[in-house]
């Protein structure tokens, strides 16, 4: 890798309007496809929004008339594995905070697509740093807060942005869901009750799913009345929708693994501040970890977090992605590029850090057939930098989504 690549100017050549808006050629001082070796003087050709060709400049010809952009370093568009942008608005006023509904403890029927504001300024903000894909949705804070979606960081409507309307069902265990006496609700009042409530709901959903399957196999049997809540959890039990469980303390992580085992469901650990205490258990359970932002505040349930956790998980072979997470105050969102960078002096290599915000994220989110690396046939999503992307003083100089240059400011 090159930590001191001289910054090249982004050369945006505006050609005739006849050129297809989703066609673009990108020249890189160093190109990081992520799933293959870096290419010096690399070129990526994007046509109709998809990567058509990739290779060294002397072997890849840029078609005449094609728009060309150029940067010192080019990577796949970054993937933020867990965010709340689009739901938790940047002004932090009651009217723009749609990330948490506290009327009930368990509401998996709450869809992220019904709350996602595609024009939220924070989406544009993170896009300026090279983030092209996000998993976003309901925030930690209730046993089941709702669903998440996966979107590109472009588009004026959720319909234009979304690539997976139901990505995961977002659950939380630990102190964050415990309701203090005196509020509108009194339950769950402790950890045991929270897990019992979640188990009871999954047991109910299993019965609902069993009845649905029985009815579809036997005309004499009635399907249960449609229940949005049960449908959402049935999809979890069917293995169609992973359960994203935000947990930090070691005992809560074990509770999450216990649930995965009991109901044979796909669980993704989220946050997981104390996961370094349970490397063997997490590995044996085969669950991936979307690790808390490195710079999240070390207090409360996260007081034992460490900058070295990512390295320990990655070295053990556990799939790890980074996230921007949820912030209740300032900064209202973090930037996954920066969060990955913080782990570099703490045992994570440049290649591992880049993978954790590209291909590893894509795999955990189940979208690696489309994004996460620069390969022929994948979406033309690229991030352009004037130097080492992780270096504090480098700049993101361009972001391309499906062949369209959606950001060209130096940020």
């Amino acid at each position: 890798m090159s930590r001191k690549v001289t910054g090249l100017l982004l050369v945006a050549c505006w050609f005739a309007a006849s050129a297809h808006a989703a066609d673009i050629a990108v020249r890189a001082g160093v190109l990081y496809p992520v799933t293959s070796a870096p290419i010096e003087n690399g070129v990526v050709i994007v046509t109709d929004g998809k990567i058509a060709e990739i290779g060294p400049a002397d072997r890849v010809a840029i078609p005449n008339g094609m728009r060309v952009v150029e940067a010192a370093v080019v990577t796949p568009g970054l993937i933020d594995a867990h965010s709340v942008v689009g739901l938790a608005g940047y002004l932090n006023q009651p009217g723009d905070q749609d990330q948490l509904e506290s009327s009930e403890a368990i509401q998996p029927e709450l869809r992220a697509i019904d709350a996602y504001n595609a024009r939220e300024p924070l989406i544009e903000w993170i896009r300026g740093f090279g983030v092209t894909t996000i998993q976003t949705g309901h925030a930690p804070g209730e046993i089941i807060a709702g669903q998440t979606l996966i979107a590109k960081t472009t588009g004026d409507t959720v319909e234009e942005a979304v690539i997976k309307p139901v990505a995961m069902v977002a659950a939380t265990l630990g102190e964050g869901v415990i309701v203090q006496a005196g509020g509108a609700r009194t339950s769950p009042g402790n950890r045991s009750k929270a897990v019992a409530m979640l188990r009871a709901e999954l047991v109910k959903a299993k019965s609902y799913r069993d009845k649905s399957i029985a009815a579809s196999n036997d005309d004499d049997k009635d399907a249960p009345d449609r229940d949005l809540r049960m449908e959402a959890l049935a999809a979890v039990l069917a293995g169609d929708t992973p359960l994203l469980i935000t947990v930090h303390r070691h005992n809560d992580i074990m509770s999450a693994l216990r649930l995965a085992d009991e109901f044979d469901i796909d669980v993704v650990l989220d946050g997981a501040a104390e996961s370094y205490l349970l490397i063997d258990e997490i590995k044996a359970a085969g669950v991936p970890v979307i690790l808390h932002p490195a710079m999240t505040r070390a207090w409360g349930e996260k007081e034992n977090l460490a900058f070295t956790t990512a390295a320990k998980l990655i070295d053990a072979g556990i799939p790890v992605a980074f996230q921007s997470g949820y912030e209740s105050y300032v900064p209202k969102t973090r930037v996954v590029l920066f969060e990955a960078g913080i782990t570099l002096p703490h045992g994570v290599s440049f290649e591992q850090a880049l993978a954790a915000i590209t291909i590893e994220s894509a795999r955990i989110l189940g979208i690696d057939d489309r994004v996460g690396s620069l390969e022929v046939g994948k979406d033309g999503d690229l991030a352009l930098y004037d130097g080492d992307p992780f270096e504090y003083t480098s700049h993101a100089v361009g972001t391309i989504i499906e062949g369209a240059l959606v950001s060209d400011t130096e940020q």
Binding site: Y90, W125, E274, M295, K332, P345, T393, S394
Partner: protein, 437 residues
């Protein structure tokens, strides 16, 4: 006399002698690139310290290492002055309570937990001097405290002292939305300014009575802790540290500063770029914060890194602050690096960490640069101060090594881990004003 006691008595002079010799120890750091900040960088420099103070800074070929000095080879490292944080909430600081928006009599001195893990985190980030501040939920939330992160068992032991022997500190003020609330707190900006002006007018009258009394006990006004504090502000012995975000709130601070003539440092200043010229003309220094995204509240919607460059271009004096817990003290160097990313020059960004803030706290006679005669407060870095790959290797305060990455206990503070930071602050909320509003 039992033998053991005799031995103990005999040991006392030896211990004293050891202590004296330890104090008088001279240490020369060699091989590093020195960035004095007050002067040009010196490659292969020599830094000599003695009795907790800097005695020489210069290039290897022209700097004499005193006979008997301990030499520490730090080749490949970069040494910069200890960082001065103008605005931090480590130590579980508290100021005024919810009874009144104006409480200059409340001292953070009376609230600090000196065993709070925040002090260790600060040292791990290369911070050696700190202005400990109460929150921004008041127009005046209390007296701040300037501390040096030397070893100490009580807050008095680490406090800077003024010439009159009193602990040194400023006055925390705020305007904008954080200090607005239900009565008796103000509900608008105009009310906020009116309340503050009325209080300073009372302080001016109190000061006039004190001067008229000229020490005559019969003529002295009744003691008033709040007004006494504000008299210090009017006298210039106590600087106002003013939380302010929006462009018009910044101008309000400048207007009040002009009316009452006090010394003020602007803090945060989300919209600094819009009023950079006015700030520069007023010759009021700024302590900036840079965070990773704008927003979080309406008045921070333009909190962008570009402010750093805008202020530099306008010619204003700029420092940075952690606002810890808003940003982590361990990553303070990163903030100045983000200023460089947004166009600030590297020299100005580097001055903004030790030298400019030390002037804002009136401690630049002792801290802020690597200069002969100043306290031996410095940090040993693995490389470029503004690189993500650079770690703080050592932090020295008054000639004592207070953080060493090679020490496993210290390394645990630098990286975190199970029980490494065990803060007793899990119940704390940001700035003491609870949920964002």
């Amino acid at each position: 006399m039992p033998t053991s006691c005799r031995r103990a008595v005999a040991l006392v002079p030896v211990a004293l002698a050891l202590a004296l010799s330890a104090q008088a120890e001279t240490i020369a750091f060699t091989g590093a690139t020195l960035m004095p900040v007050s002067d040009e960088a010196i490659e292969n420099g020599v830094l000599v310290i003695e009795d907790g103070a800097i005695v020489a800074v210069g290039p290897a070929d022209s700097t004499r290492i005193p006979r008997g000095a301990t030499t520490i080879d730090v080749s490949g490292s970069v040494i910069i002055p200890g960082i001065v944080d103008t605005h931090s909430h480590i130590g579980e600081v508290a100021g005024g309570d919810s009874s009144d928006p104006i409480q200059p009599e409340a001292r953070v001195l009376d609230s600090i937990n000196i065993r709070d893990a925040g002090f260790k985190r600060a040292l791990a980030g290369g911070i050696t001097s700190v202005n400990l501040m109460a929150g921004s939920g008041h127009l005046m939330s209390g007296q701040t405290l300037y501390v040096k992160l030397r070893d100490g068992n009580s807050i008095e032991e680490i406090a800077y002292r003024r010439e009159d022997g009193e602990v040194a500190g400023g006055l925390k003020m705020a305007n904008g939305t954080n200090s607005q609330d239900e009565p008796p707190f103000p509900g608008t900006r105009a009310k906020s300014a009116a309340l503050v002006r009325q209080k300073y007018i009372a302080a001016q009258e109190y000061k006039a009575k004190l001067e008229a009394a000229d020490g005559d006990p019969d003529e002295m006004p009744d003691r008033d802790l709040a007004l006494e504090t504000l008299v210090e502000v009017l006298d210039g012995t106590r600087t106002v540290h003013h939380h302010t975000h929006r462009h018009d709130d910044v101008l309000t601070v400048l207007r009040l500063q002009k009316e009452f003539g006090y010394r003020v440092v602007l803090h945060h200043v989300s919209e600094a770029a819009k009023v950079a010229d006015e700030i520069a003309v007023a010759e009021v220094p700024v302590s900036l914060i840079i965070v990773d995204s704008p927003g979080g509240k309406i008045e921070a919607m333009h909190l962008e890194p570009y402010n750093a460059k805008a202020l530099e271009d306008a010619g204003a004096r700029v420092a940075f602050h952690t606002d810890d817990y808003i940003t982590d003290s361990r990553l303070f160097l990163r903030m100045a690096a983000l200023g460089v990313r947004a166009g600030m020059s590297r020299d100005v960004a580097l001055r903004a960490l030790p030298l400019e803030p030390s002037k804002m706290l009136d401690i630049d006679d002792r801290a802020g640069s690597l200069e002969k005669g100043k306290d031996a407060d410095f940090i040993v870095l693995a490389g470029d101060p503004f690189s993500v790959y650079t770690q703080v290797r050592q932090t020295w305060v008054e000639g004592k090594k207070r953080f060493d990455l090679a020490d496993p206990d210290d390394a645990a503070i630098a990286t975190g881990g199970f029980g490494a930071l065990t803060p007793s602050n899990s119940e704390l909320e940001f700035h003491g004003y609870g949920e964002a509003r």
